[in-house]
């Protein structure tokens, strides 16, 4: 890859051929097939839930990197473009991680979202199950 990715001159690049792009496309398809197999493995019970999720996420990250590096040319382009993309992308990932942690393990706010509704439903079910005479 080094001869293919080396920058030749200012604003001029050694640039992959059509065949190279098609090979990357085939790899992307193969990774997608593996993702779906991971999902099916989890559904069928042949793969543990956590393991399947981890495999799917790793495959997804590989696809992300392939597209960004080769199809979006960050591998060949000026590092300033990489920085302009990577910084907000990391910030976005930080937002995702923080919100999921805040709503889940740390604060558990979202568990309490439906608590009042659940409580109301339980009370209604009890009222419905209890004869009117008993309630008096």
């Amino acid at each position: 890859m080094t001869s293919e990715t080396r920058e030749v001159a200012h604003n001029q690049h050694t640039h992959p051929t059509n065949r190279f792009y098609v090979v990357i496309g085939a790899i992307l398809i193969a990774l997608t097939v593996l993702e779906v197999l991971g999902y099916l493995g989890e559904v069928n019970g042949t793969l543990p839930s956590g393991a399947a999720a981890a495999i799917i996420l790793v495959l997804s990250a590989a696809k992300f990197l392939l597209v960004v590096m080769f199809y979006m040319h960050l591998k060949f382009d000026h590092p300033l473009f990489t920085g302009t993309f990577v910084f907000p992308a990391l910030l976005g990932m930080l937002v995702i991680g923080s919100l999921v942690l805040l709503f889940g393990p740390i604060h558990g706010t979202s568990d309490a979202i439906g608590d009042d509704v659940r409580e109301e439903r339980r009370a209604a079910e009890v009222r419905a199950a209890t004869p009117a005479a008993d309630r008096r």
């Binding site: 059509n18 992307l28 839930s49 495959l59 979006m72 473009f81 937002v95």
Partner: protein, 213 residues
């Protein structure tokens, strides 16, 4: 496997030496990362918190016809097919750029058209999916937390695909009429950046929303 050719005009008269349009577009893509980051975060934060159905992966909820469903709403084979089409459209996009940079007007137009066609097929699959959710499952934007966050996330992505299709068809027309010579290929490269970004977002959405229960 590699060929050397100019990606942009030989001399760019800016302080960075880089084309400002391309740099600005990367900045735009960065801002889009934050938009989709917040939408994905919202979906994940509310995942599995809905009080009632419809549910994405599990059964045990009642659809609009009063039937108790033994499975979730997602149609994985259909979504896998549309994911395959979107990935193939990304391949078509890089091939279109390569041809435009070499001055192959006909081939460039053809691959740009095929890229837009791939986007249109993906969009058609999404419209079918949404219609089925509404008509069969009774799942609308206000049904529950899952429905609201799912429609907002995938709907925003679909809107981006729609814009991309219009963008690509415009470029295909300009290329066909000879208005995008190799020295103006940056226009196609920027459209490619947009299209690949839309693809990258789907690469994240597909496993997180559809494949991981």
């Amino acid at each position: 496997m590699a060929e050397s050719h100019a990606l942009s005009p030989a001399h760019v008269d800016t302080s960075t030496g880089l084309d400002s349009r391309k740099l600005a577009f990367w900045g735009f893509i960065g801002s889009e990362c934050l938009l989709f980051g917040s939408l994905i975060a919202t979906y994940l934060a509310y995942k599995g918190r809905s009080l009632d159905g419809p549910k994405p992966h599990d059964g045990g909820w009642v659809n609009r016809y009063g039937e108790v469903m033994d499975h979730g709403v997602f149609n994985i084979p259909l979504t896998t097919f549309s994911t395959f089409i979107l990935l193939m459209s990304s391949v078509a996009m890089v091939l279109a750029l390569n041809h435009v940079q070499r001055g192959h007007r006909g081939q460039g137009t053809l691959w740009l058209f095929l890229t837009a066609l791939g986007g249109a097929i993906f969009l058609g699959a999404q419209v079918y999916e949404f219609t089925y959710f509404v008509a069969h499952d009774g799942m609308t934007l206000g049904s529950n937390l899952f429905a609201s966050s799912f429609f907002t996330l995938t709907g925003f992505h679909g809107a981006h695909v729609t814009v991309g299709i219009i963008y690509l068809m415009t470029l295909a027309s300009l290329t066909w009429h000879g208005k995008i010579p190799p020295e103006k290929s940056l226009n196609v490269e920027i459209a490619g950046l947009y299209w690949h970004f839309v693809d990258v977002i789907w690469i994240i959405i597909f496993p997180l929303v559809y494949l991981i229960p």
